[in-house]
Each structure stands twice: as structure tokens, then as C-alpha cells.
């Protein structure tokens, strides 16, 4: 402290702005007179506040006890979220409630108690402290002369060779650490072009893995499909990476109501169409099939694709149709892929355009 003033206004031009002088403004009346609180004038009220505060602290202790009642007193045994036996689930809920409420009470007791103490029993006189300049001119001059001395004594100005080689070294020295980051991941982008789909790979249901006959796919039904060879992969061998590219939606449409471009004429089996389930916007699974309108809707950002028009985008932020998987039927009547996709699935990356050209070159 030590620098407190009495709260009367200083001679200050800082509030005034252009066109307004001190004379045209109201004078600062200074701090309003202090109004005593009930606890300041009545010892009874002060006593009462004291009792209230200590009661709050006692409640805090009770809260901590409640935590241990919940921790040791409630037994969570047996299966959780088992529909036939809710005992353990109910116990878990009760325990979470007791633990949390206990801690909440322990905290509230201390917090409200201390604040109540401060508001009723500690002095509520406002005090005044002066502000000081962030920097005085004297300090600046001192600092500047110190820096000049440091600069001169280091000799960095007199010996430019030292300075320049040091700058050179400092620029180069971090490069190895940036170089070390290179092995964070591969630099080969080719995997983005390839999925597990290939000629003759069966379409199987996700997650059961059973193959699908053309006759299973009735009008209006939809199947979440993966390639049969996906299930041969373990999680360590990149099951999820492959699944993230290979997921496909399968549904039958009335062939009369569908526009099919000539180069895709043999990509469907009597109105059964397979489309990549990975949104071309930012890669969410396009999981919603609107049966009546034949629209596919992405639940993440509501891009809407028109199945009757080769999954053209009709609403939302996606810019490209979903890639179609060419399918046919094998000798046993099961649906199989005719080939891999003819373009990379999922969201756009810069090299995609080149990849599309390469893939379509291979397909033809």
C-alpha cells in the first residue's frame, strides 16, 4: 500500500476529449459516503452471520462424509445396463449421485461460507490506490543504456562475421527436428485410390458378413454393405482403414424411375444400385435413406443425394455425387463387384483430379 489517496479526483485531463474541457463537465463528487451494514451496527446480526458461516462449513464436512457414504456404502455389483437385472445399474446411478452431491456440498459449504463471511463480517470500506505509469522516462533511459552496453560488450556489431554465422547456424539448427517429423506418416498417396473392391468380390452385409442374393434386395429395402474380403482383415491389419473406404449402400429402385448414363448401363443389377457410403463432402457415413423420395441424406451436414439421378447433389454442402460401385451377379446368384470404384471415394484432396484421370485410364 502506502500510495493510497483519499479518493478525491486527481487533476486529470485523461477523461476529456476534443471539444470538451474540464469546465464543461460535472466535477467528480468523490466516493459516496459509506453506508454501514446491519452486521456493522448490530452485534446480534453479526453473531447471527457468524453462526450462519460456521453452519455452512459444517454442511461442507457433511458433504465430504456423504461422499464416503456413497463410495463405501453403495455396492455396485453385477452386470450393468442388463435389461433383466437393473439392480447394479440403479446402484451405479445412486453412487454417482451421492459422490457428486457430496463433493458439491463440500465445495458449496466452503465457498458460500467464505463469501458470506467476507460480505457480512469483513470490512466493506472501499479503498483507493494510485495507478503508476507503466514505464517512467528514467527507467527507459536506464534500460536503453544497459542494452547499449550489452550490445557493445558482446561485440556483435563490431564483428559481423560472428553475427552472420550465428544467424546461419540458428536458422539451420532446427531443421533436423523438422526432418524428424517426416516419418510421422507415409508420403505415398496411392492408397487413397484403392479400396478392397475388385472384380468378383462379393457384397456382404455389415456386420454379419453374409452374402446377398439379388432376390434378397426388395424394392424399398436398403443394405449396409462391405466387401467380403474385409472380414479376413484383423484390426491390426488395417480393418478400420479399409472399411472407412469400402462401405457401400445398396438398394433397389424401380428401373423405370432411374436415369442411367450409357457408360454405367451395366453397373446395376435390375435396378439394384450400390453407392459409396462415404460422403463426398467431409467423409461422414451417408447413413439415411429416404425411401419415398429416393434421397440419401448425410446426418452430419445434411448433404442430400438423388438416387434416381446417379446420386447427384440436390441440397447441402457436398459438391460431388457419391461414387457408384459397378456390380453384377456371380454364378451362384450372389451380388459381386465388377471392379473397384472408378474414382477415389470420400472427401476431396488436391491430387484427386490426377487420381481420377489415372483410375479412369486404367478402367478403360
Amino acid at each position: 500500500m502506502g500510495s493510497h489517496s483519499d479518493g478525491t479526483p486527481h487533476q486529470s485531463g485523461t477523461v476529456a476529449t476534443t471539444g470538451t474541457t474540464e469546465m464543461e463537465r460535472f466535477p467528480d463528487p468523490g466516493l459516496p459516503p459509506h453506508r454501514p451494514r446491519l452486521t456493522d451496527v448490530e452485534s446480534k446480526a453479526a453473531k447471527r452471520a457468524e453462526r450462519q458461516v460456521s453452519l455452512l462449513f459444517l454442511i461442507s464436512i457433511l458433504g465430504s462424509v456423504m461422499f464416503f457414504v456413497g463410495y463405501f456404502g453403495v455396492r455396485v455389483e453385477g452386470p450393468l445396463y442388463d435389461v433383466t437385472n437393473p439392480t447394479a445399474t440403479d446402484a451405479l446411478r445412486l453412487q454417482n449421485l451421492l459422490l457428486g452431491l457430496g463433493i458439491a456440498l463440500a465445495m458449496f459449504g466452503i465457498g458460500i461460507g467464505v463469501v458470506h463471511w467476507a460480505r457480512t463480517l469483513m470490512p466493506d470500506h472501499e479503498l483507493v490506490e494510485s495507478r503508476h505509469a507503466v514505464r517512467t522516462e528514467e527507467q527507459r533511459a536506464d534500460a536503453q543504456s544497459i542494452l547499449t552496453t550489452v550490445y557493445d560488450e558482446s561485440g556483435i556489431k563490431r564483428r559481423p562475421l560472428l553475427r552472420n554465422t550465428l544467424i546461419g547456424a540458428a536458422v539451420v539448427a532446427p531443421l533436423p527436428f523438422i526432418g524428424l517429423l517426416k516419418d510421422l506418416g507415409p508420403t505415398n498417396l496411392d492408397p487413397l485410390k484403392e479400396t478392397l473392391w475388385d472384380e468378383g468380390v462379393r457384397l456382404v452385409r455389415d456386420p454379419s458378413g453374409t452374402p446377398i442374393k439379388a432376390s434378397d434386395v426388395t424394392l424399398g429395402s436398403t443394405f449396409h454393405v462391405v466387401p467380403e474380403n474385409l472380414n479376413e482383415l484383423s484390426h491390426h491389419e488395417g480393418y478400420l482403414d479399409e472399411k472407412a473406404k469400402a462401405v457401400v449402400l445398396l438398394m433397389r429402385l424401380d428401373p423405370e424411375s432411374v436415369n442411367v448414363s450409357p457408360d454405367r448401363a451395366d453397373w446395376n443389377v435390375d435396378g439394384i444400385f450400390a453407392y459409396s457410403k462415404v460422403c463426398t463432402h467431409v467423409g461422414c457415413p451417408v447413413a439415411l435413406y429416404e425411401q419415398q423420395t429416393h434421397h440419401l441424406l448425410c446426418p452430419c451436414h445434411q448433404s442430400t443425394f438423388d438416387l434416381t439421378n446417379e446420386c447427384e447433389v440436390i441440397f447441402g454442402p457436398a459438391a460431388r455425387p457419391l461414387p457408384q460401385l459397378p456390380i453384377t451377379v456371380d454364378a451362384d446368384g450372389y451380388l459381386v463387384a465388377r471392379s473397384d470404384f472408378h474414382e477415389p471415394v470420400g472427401p476431396t484432396y488436391s491430387q484427386r483430379g490426377t487420381h481420377v484421370e489415372e483410375m479412369q485410364g486404367e478402367a478403360n
Binding site: M1, G7, H10, S12, V15, T17, G19, T20, F26, P29, G30, L31, P32, Y81, Q95, N96, L97, G100, I103, A104, M107, G111, V114, V115, A118, R119, M122, E126, L127, E129, R131, V134, L184, G185, T187, L189, H224, H235, H236, D241, K243, A244, V282, G283, P285, A287, L288, P299, H301, I314, F315, G316, P317, A319, R320, T348, Y349, S350, G353, T354
Partner: protein, 551 residues
């Protein structure tokens, strides 16, 4: 040569002896002298920064507990814990340990929910604190650098939240990462490589969770903690701002001393915030990861949306039409650029850049380079308040858009219509927000003038001897009056020629912005005006012939 220990003080009590021991070794007395009775001004709006600090402390505490059990590994295993619906399901160790924390570790569910709720409130309190600082002009000289530190903390809070949200490896967190992957891939030329680097190969790979984990538990918290230290250090250097009022000047600080009052109030408030977070964690389920299942690229729930602080980015990408009026994915010479993903990020970056640069922009327009320790009431800076509201409206439209699908299902309206309206609001909302806010501010300033000039409306109606009814106005006391008249009166600063006598184009633009901001303004009442108003009152009560004057 040895320095003699010339400390002569001999403490009497054992506490005194310990304190003296420490003091003579590290010098505590100067610190106590500096901070023990330091004055902090009091105002309810100064509380938000405290909430942010306290929730961060709770996050560090609860996060440390969670790290004792969480296993940041994507190794695949079969779940054998006590949560029946997932038994036998293959999933990552990260998801297994998240389920274990929720179900098999006593109090683990409470800790997870405490951590998640605190993260939501942390991001919210940081945001509201920033708005408080903005709307009261607390960022002005000398506090511009601390405003920048605050912008950094705001961005870090978002990154902290997103990295943490991604760790449990459930379906929702995986879909969030999928979107992050796609946005990364959209970056021209390097995007696909960046994605490969981040994920250690193709999405999702086996590396992302351990990598996000170290970012989430070490790098980000360390950065936040470092910036908080700088932030608070600057608060000490500058001393806290205060609202204008009687006895409060640019040269003083009026308030309560740290010891005991402020320490008790602020310290007690920490426990109250902790209590509220604990109450939420005890009673309100948040991020029920066990309902979602382990990450799998195929399923996703309808109505999925990110935590609120990421919502504005999600909403922005939802609003962008991908195929209207033409396809926004352009391919030149084999290079594909998805403007439908990239373009919505540009206004967000502009918004953040404007936010960071605002102290300098405002100083440039107003030519006001003085130190300001007295805050503005938002109404007394209509231009700034209106600009702030325009920014808030813009942000809010994006945030609301992230729930466009839920609005459609809850209110039974067409999703497409909701998006069309929000697209309109995205452009029109900020403009309307600016105009309406400025009008409200000016109206409130006029109301203040009215109160100063004619006093408070008492609600008492009197009949004058000649039959007229009037409402009695009571003059306000000088303290209340000073609150209403003590504010800086910014005025238009027309373009001025520079040293060479030339008005540059930039200076002309500045002049125009200054005119746009300050042409409509309400000046504070001057003593002379008050004097004149009193004469009017006397005239009114004196006789009927003058009453037209008051109308």
C-alpha cells in the same frame, strides 16, 4: 568477503519463526507488501474471467485423475467389463478404458462428467469474458497485448476441447476426427500429406489417439498455463480496470484489498464454481459414450453435432451450398480444390483476425492513443457495441446452423427452409444487428440524459391547482448523476492531411469510417445544460403559459 546476516528481528511464535526462516531466505516480505493489500475493483462482470480460471483448475485436477486410468492406445481388444451391451465387442483400448472409467472405477463416471462439464463451461466463460472485455473497452491502451493473449487462450481452449473430445474413440469422436481429416485434406497441394502425417497413414490408422493424447495432456495445457501466467502478470502490471463513477478516475483504483476481502470472495468463488460443476456432473449425463459404441466408419446417429465451442465451424460448413449455383469443387490441371469446404473457413478467419486486430483498428479510427483504465458502459460506445453485436450475430448464426437438423425435427419445419433462412441470416443478421444495436445504444444514452436533466420518474401523479396532471420527477443525487455523465465523448475525426499536406486514400477511408461510427452521437450532459433544464422546470410549475416548452 562474506555478507553479514544483519537480520535482527527475533520472532516469538513458532509460525513467526517459520515465516521468518522463509522470509530471510527468499524474501517474502516484499511480495506480501506488494500483494497483501492490493486493491481490486468489484463488478459482477469481472467474474467471468474468474470462472474461466477456476474451471481450468478443475480441468487440470479431474484430467489428472482420468489420466491415471485412461489408456491412449488404439490396440484392438475385446471388451470384458461390466457394461453388458458392449460385452464381447471388439474395440480399441482407449474406448475400453473410457468404459472402465465410466463403469468399473468408483467415482470414474463422476470424474469424466466433471471434466466434460468443466470443459464446456471453460470454453463458455472464456468467450463471455472476452465479450465483457470487448464491450467495456477494456482492451484499449495499455492492455492491447493482453487482449492478444486472450485471443490466444480462446483459440487454445477450442483446440483443447476438440483434442479431448476425440480421445475416447467412440463413434461420435471418430466422426469428428473424420471431418477434421477431410478439412485437412481440403488444403491445396499439401492437404493429403498433412492428413497422412497426422494419422500416420490413412484414416483412422493406429496413431491418432496417442498423438492427440500427448497434445491434449501436455502441449495444450502447458501453453494455456503459460498464457494464463502472462495474462495475470499483465493484470498486475496494469492494475484492473474499473467502471467510471464517483471517486473513480483514470489515476486510481477503487475497490477492496486482496487481504482479506478480495481473497475471501475470489477464493470462496472458486469453491462455488467447483460446487456447480460437481452438481452438474452428479445430476446431468454428458457425452454418454457407452450409447454410441466403438468407432466404426459405417454407422452414425442422426442429430450428431459437436460440443458447442466447435459448433460455429460445423455450422459454417453446413451453410455453404456445395452445388449451387454451380459446383464449388474446381479442378485445374488435375488439382482439385473443394471450395465448398475451404470457403466457409475464410469468413471465420477474417472474424478472428478482426477480433485480434480490433484494439489497433479502433485506435486508428478514433485517433485515441491515451491510456484507458476507466471502462465504457457499452451504451456509451455505440459504434463498438454495434460492431461487437454484429460479430456475435455472425458467430451465433453459424452456431445455430450446426443444429439445423435438430431445429427441423423439433419444430417440424423443413430442413431445407431452415438452412435457406440461416443462409440469409448469415449475410443480413450482422447488418441488422449493427443497426439495431446502435439505435438501442443511442436511445439508452438519451434516456440517461433525460434522467440527468429531468430527474427520476417517481410514479407519483399530482394535480396542479389549474387542473393539469403531472408526474413528479425527483432530481437524482450527485453520485448517481456522475455515473451518467462521466464518459468519454468520441467525435468524428475528419481526414487530415499528412506532413506533406496530402490526404492519403487510407486517411480518407479512416475519415469515412470515423464519420460512419460517430456521426450519430449523444453527448454527456454538461452543467450548463442541467442549469437550463432546471429553469424549464421552474417555468412549468410557475404557470400554464410555458408548458408548451416541455412538450
Amino acid at each position: 568477503m562474506s555478507t553479514s546476516t544483519d537480520y535482527e528481528y527475533k520472532p516469538q511464535t513458532s509460525t513467526g519463526r517459520i515465516a521468518n526462516f522463509v522470509d530471510t531466505r527468499v524474501g517474502m516480505s516484499p511480495i506480501v507488501k506488494e500483494f497483501g493489500r492490493k486493491i481490486f475493483p468489484d463488478h459482477w462482470s469481472f467474474m467471468f474471467g474468474e470462472v474461466a480460471l477456476y474451471t481450468f483448475v478443475i480441468l487440470l485436477l479431474s484430467g489428472t485423475f482420468l489420466a491415471l486410468w485412461f489408456d491412449p492406445s488404439m490396440a484392438s481388444m475385446e471388451y470384458e467389463g461390466s457394461y453388458v451391451p458392449m460385452q464381447g465387442v471388439e474395440m480399441s483400448a482407449a474406448y475400453v478404458s473410457s468404459l472402465d472409467i465410466s463403469f468399473d472405477i468408483r467415482g470414474g463416471l463422476f470424474l469424466r462428467q466433471l471434466h466434460h462439464w468443466s470443459a464446456l463451461v471453460f470454453a463458455a466463460s472464456v468467450s463471455v469474458h472476452m465479450l465483457r472485455v470487448f464491450f467495456t473497452g477494456a482492451f484499449r491502451r495499455p492492455r492491447e497485448l493482453n487482449w492478444l493473449v486472450g485471443v490466444g487462450l480462446f483459440l487454445l481452449a477450442i483446440v483443447a476441447g476438440f483434442t479431448g473430445y476425440s480421445l475416447p474413440d467412440d463413434v461420435l469422436s471418430g466422426n469428428g476426427l473424420r471431418i477434421a481429416d477431410a478439412i485437412l485434406k481440403a488444403i491445396p497441394i499439401v492437404g493429403a500429406y498433412l492428413s497422412m502425417f497426422l494419422f500416420g497413414g490413412e484414416f483412422p490408422g493406429h496413431d491418432i489417439i496417442p498423438r492427440l493424447y500427448i497434445i491434449h495432456v501436455l502441449l495444450i495445457p502447458a501453453a494455456i498455463l503459460g498464457l494464463i501466467v502472462v495474462h495475470l502478470f499483465m493484470v498486475v502490471v496494469h492494475k484492473h480496470t474499473q467502471f467510471p463513477g464517483p471517486g473513480r478516475t483514470e489515476n486510481n483504483v477503487v475497490g477492496f484489498p486482496v487481504g482479506p476481502v478480495y481473497a475471501a470472495k475470489a477464493g470462496g468463488f472458486f469453491f462455488i464454481v467447483f460446487g456447480i460443476m460437481a452438481l452438474l456432473a452428479a445430476t446431468t449425463t454428458i457425452n454418454a459414450i457407452w450409447n454410441y459404441g466403438p468407432y466404426d466408419p459405417s454407422p452414425v446417429q442422426a442429430g450428431s453435432q459437436p460440443d458447442w465451442y466447435m459448433g460455429f465451424t460445423d455450422g459454417a460448413v453446413r451453410l455453404m451450398p456445395g452445388n449451387w449455383p454451380f459446383s464449388w469443387e474446381w479442378t485445374f490441371w488435375g488439382m482439385s480444390i473443394p471450395f465448398n469446404v475451404l470457403l466457409p473457413m475464410v469468413p471465420i478467419m477474417i472474424l478472428f483476425a478482426l477480433m485480434a486486430a480490433w484494439p489497433w483498428l479502433e485506435r486508428w479510427v478514433t485517433k485515441d492513443d491515451r491510456e484507458h483504465h476507466l471502462l465504457d458502459r457499452p451504451r456509451n460506445a455505440p459504434f463498438r457495441t454495434a460492431m461487437g453485436v454484429a460479430g456475435v450475430v455472425f458467430y451465433t448464426v453459424m452456431l445455430v446452423s450446426a443444429s439445423g437438423d435438430l431445429i427441423a425435427t423439433h419444430f417440424h419445419v423443413s430442413l431445407n427452409d431452415v438452412i435457406y433462412w440461416l443462409r440469409t441470416a448469415y449475410f443480413v443478421g450482422p447488418i441488422l444487428g449493427f443497426i439495431i444495436t446502435r439505435r438501442i445504444c443511442l436511445a439508452l444514452q438519451r434516456k440517461d440524459r433525460e434522467i440527468v436533466l429531468h430527474g427520476r420518474e417517481t410514479g407519483r401523479v399530482q394535480q396542479l391547482p389549474h387542473g393539469e396532471f403531472i408526474e413528479v420527477h425527483e432530481p437524482i443525487d450527485e453520485y448517481k448523476r456522475y455515473r451518467l455523465v462521466a464518459f468519454p465523448d468520441y467525435q468524428v475525426q475528419p481526414a487530415e492531411p499528412n506532413g506533406k499536406g496530402k490526404i492519403t486514400g487510407l486517411e480518407k477511408a479512416r475519415g469515412r469510417i470515423s464519420r460512419w461510427f460517430f456521426e450519430d452521437r449523444v453527448a454527456p450532459v454538461t452543467p450548463a445544460e442541467l442549469e437550463a433544464a432546471h429553469h424549464h422546470h421552474e417555468a412549468v410549475t410557475a404557470g400554464t403559459q410555458d408548458k408548451e416548452l416541455v412538450r
